[in-house]
């Protein structure tokens, strides 16, 4: 009988077998665990609104402690001192965790994907609903709004600007417009993307803001004086989806362009239409001739910082981002700034894209009533009015018409053109993007295309390639 026929394992063989067996068991259990680990969205619980019955009472969840994930922002800063009042009103304690904006959505993604429900409520932007909603990570707040046992009769949801309410609602079906389906977040603060300019410099030169896009290009170019470190206009240009949504998307829409159209039940990218190519070419030329030298790295703090320092003569970005630069002590140009709606489209359109910081509820929360009471309070008239009156960096812009027309207008004495600009654009302000679940991927690719055109690539060729790639991406089976 040979050794091969009668195998007697030695210690080394046994160790090897143990190792292999352990690895196999470990790997199989790992992979099984992985299967569970990928299904964070499946942990979403049913909507909790139906469980709330009886009359409305702020103290229905008394004694509860909720966790809220937030990012440091003037809105959050304005509300932090008011949390004690919320606790006094409801008996609910709020533990607010702050994560810097640069890392905020990374943290939020991880938290929501885990399905752990560590945070009951969180700050979010409207575009994120298109990603967080389909896997079931967010609680639909419409049943909560419609439940009189859970929502105060004085809440007055319709007081929130219509464009904002529509922008935070969608049914997640390809081709459906915003405003359909659930209400996934309640707008808390928002911004319109308009022009802010150095009025002192404009007055000194005896000039006024441009009313058409071609005039804006000419004006910004004329104001550019590289030798003296001054340039005409700042707007975002970094490799990020956030480059597209403020000034670019606003003017893109005003010039009659669209990002996608619905064709045969599928979305087709149209950012390569003749008018879009023409607009994009002009926009990039504006960046080249009158924008910041390092445009491809510019984010909103760079833009508003240059405006405040007197380096940039205009900024085409969020009104709420330029607002703090005009508060005494915040910048060298404080008191010198003014606002303008920006160029109208050929048809007189002041269509304006918005960003809203909203409050949403984690569907995996175990304290949904307390979370809803917090969201309801923070987006209510009283708390928002107090935030406007006491916020250290202001509260631009409140999402409620009554608060804007009341408390907020009283703060606008030293902000020439702010109110007029707001009133001119608010009726046509909402999200101008077509809602779709691949928003971040496709919109970042759009920003990359702008950078490539800025670097010298042909606009038509590059936008054709972008449109083809984005059409595939947005219709990708999910």
């Amino acid at each position: 009988m040979t050794r091969r026929e009668l195998w007697t394992p030695n210690r080394r063989d046994l160790l090897r077998m143990l190792g292999v067996g352990g690895a196999a068991v470990g790997a199989s259990s790992l992979l099984a665990a992985c299967g569970l680990g990928t299904g964070g969205g499946d942990t979403a619980t049913d909507n909790g609104a139906a469980e709330v019955t009886g009359g409305f009472d702020w103290r229905k969840a008394e004694g509860t402690e909720i966790s809220v994930l937030q990012t440091p922002h003037p809105y959050q800063v304005a509300f932090q001192p008011l949390l004690a009042e919320f606790t006094e009103l409801t008996g609910i304690t709020v533990r607010a965790d702050l994560v810097a904006e640069a890392d905020y959505f990374t943290r939020l993604n991880t938290e929501l994907a885990s399905g752990a429900g560590n945070y009951d409520a969180f700050m979010t932007g409207a575009y994120f609903i298109w990603t967080y909603g389909p896997p079931g990570w967010m609680e639909d707040l419409k049943p909560w709004l419609e439940n009189s046992s859970a929502t105060n009769a004085d809440y007055d949801f319709e007081d929130i600007y219509e464009g904002l309410r529509r922008s935070t609602s969608w049914d997640f079906k390809v081709g459906s417009p915003l405003g359909t389906g659930g209400q996934w977040a309640i707008p808390w603060g928002f911004e319109t993307n308009v022009l802010c300019y150095n009025k002192a410099e404009f007055d000194r030169r005896g000039i006024r803001p441009a009313e058409t896009f071609d005039d804006l290009i000419q004006l910004a170019t004329d104001l550019t004086d590289r030798a003296n470190n001054k340039y005409g206009i700042a707007f975002r240009g970094s490799r990020s989806w956030a480059t597209i949504h403020p000034g670019f998307m606003t003017q893109f829409t005003r010039e009659g362009c669209q990002d996608y159209t619905l064709q045969g039940g599928q979305l087709a990218a149209t950012m390569n239409s003749p008018e879009a190519v023409d607009f994009t070419r002009k926009w990039v030329e504006l960046a080249r001739s009158a924008g910041p030298t390092s445009w491809t790295n510019y984010e909103y703090p760079d833009c508003t910082g240059d405006l405040g320092a007197g380096t940039a003569m205009m900024v085409y970005d969020a009104d709420s981002a330029t607002y703090p630069q005009n508060i005494a002590g915040n910048s060298a140009q404080a008191g010198n700034l003014a606002w303008h709606p920006g160029p109208a489209g050929a048809d007189g359109s002041y269509a304006t894209n918005l960003w809203t910081w909203s409050l949403a509820m984690n569907s995996a929360s175990q304290k949904k009533l307390a979370a809803w009471l917090f969201i309801q309070w923070a987006t209510g008239k009283d708390a928002q009015t107090k935030a406007v009156q006491t916020g250290q960096a202001g509260f631009a812009d409140p999402t409620r018409a009554s608060v804007f027309d009341g408390a907020f207008q009283q703060t606008l004495g030293g902000f020439p053109g702010y109110q007029e600009t707001f009133e001119k654009v608010i009726g046509s302000t909402d999200i101008k993007f077509t809602p779709q679940t691949q928003f971040f991927e496709t919109t970042e690719e759009w920003a990359v295309a702008l950078q490539d055109i800025y670097a010298g690539q042909d606009a038509k060729t590059r936008l054709d390639a972008l449109a083809a790639a984005n059409t595939t991406a947005v219709n990708r089976a999910s």
Binding site: R11, L31, C34, T38, D42, A227, N229, E441, E444
Partner: protein, 312 residues
């Protein structure tokens, strides 16, 4: 005659014969001793196996129930020009940064290999960049690169029109930051190697009238070579996986000019929430790093044997 019997030691004071350890316990001991190592290996392998597993799914934020898709992610990514652009950027970055850091690091080590007060002070100052987190270094250099108010354009008289992070310049600027952070690492490693070299061959050569250059080329360099290679391996592996300061400075732009594989993986996984696509990027990067490491380690082994005189 009788002799008294020696007094017996009390029972408790008598040395006790060791109790025989049962055979099953003796046999179990090696397995118990190996448990910590097994746990560590599982701990290390867990994220890797998980990441590799994700590369074969269609796992993304918008996919409720991920399913097995075989090699579809690999096929998609390997046919994507953006991926290959990232491979080119990553390899260029790693080669350029490693070469520059090695040349500068060896030069600095040779200059510091003299015991002087200035040398000792410089040695300590040299490691300061290594103490700064690369993310912080990215923020600092980002401010210095700013054309409007950055110190570099001002000091170099470039006005406000030179863009350090433009399409053609960004890759060199991020390499410059890498060189600033990691050249001291190479210098210190090589310096330690130089100081451990035997003095006798150099003294004998000096007696024979050999020139400094001859001694450097024929003696010092061959003996230093293993230390240089260790530094090269560390830096090259690290550069292939570069992310932090590059992301802070450019986020991979302009266009795809500085989009390394790590940044591609981050953008897929964290920004776009396409977890499987990001995992596939990471898996392919691992393959590149693994193959390169294997090759460089074999080169190091040869160099060590040559330096020891066991191989021609």
């Amino acid at each position: 005659m009788t002799t008294a019997a020696p007094p017996r030691a009390p029972e408790s004071a008598r040395p006790r014969a060791p109790r025989p350890v049962p055979a099953w316990r003796r046999g179990l001991r090696p397995y118990l001793l190996s448990i910590p190592a097994v746990l560590i290996i599982v701990g290390i392998l867990y994220p890797f196996v998980l990441g590799a597993y994700y590369a074969f799914l269609n796992y993304a934020a918008v996919v409720r129930r991920p399913s097995f898709v075989g090699l579809a992610n690999f096929a998609e990514i390997l046919s994507d020009p953006t991926f290959w652009a990232s491979v080119r950027v990553t390899l260029f970055y790693a080669v350029a940064a490693t070469v520059i850091e090695t040349v500068l690091g060896v030069g600095i080590a040779l200059l510091l290999n003299r015991s002087s007060l200035i040398g000792r002070v410089f040695e300590r100052v040299l490691i300061l960049p290594l103490m700064i987190a690369p993310v912080i270094a990215g923020v600092i250099w980002g401010l210095m690169f700013n054309p409007q108010f950055g110190v570099l354009n001002h000091v170099l008289g470039l006005g406000s029109t030179f863009d350090w992070l433009g399409e053609d310049t960004a890759i060199w600027s991020v390499i410059l930051v890498d060189v600033w952070i990691f050249t001291p690492f190479v210098a210190i490693l090589v310096l330690a190697g130089i100081r451990s070299l035997p003095k006798e061959p150099f003294e004998a050569s000096a007696v024979d009238g050999a020139s400094w250059f001859y001694m450097f080329r024929r003696l010092m360099l061959p003996m230093m070579w293993p230390y240089i290679l260790v530094a090269v391996i560390f830096r090259f592996m690290d550069s292939l996986k570069i992310f932090d300061h590059v992301y802070v400075l450019t986020a991979g732009g302009p266009g795809d000019a500085t989009r390394t594989l790590q940044i591609g993986a981050y953008q897929n996984s964290i920004i776009q929430l396409q977890y499987s696509q990001g995992s596939t990027y990471m898996f392919l990067l691992w393959v590149i790093v693994f193959l390169t490491a294997r090759y460089l380690v074999s080169v190091l082994g040869k160099a060590q044997r040559r330096a020891a005189g066991s191989e021609d």
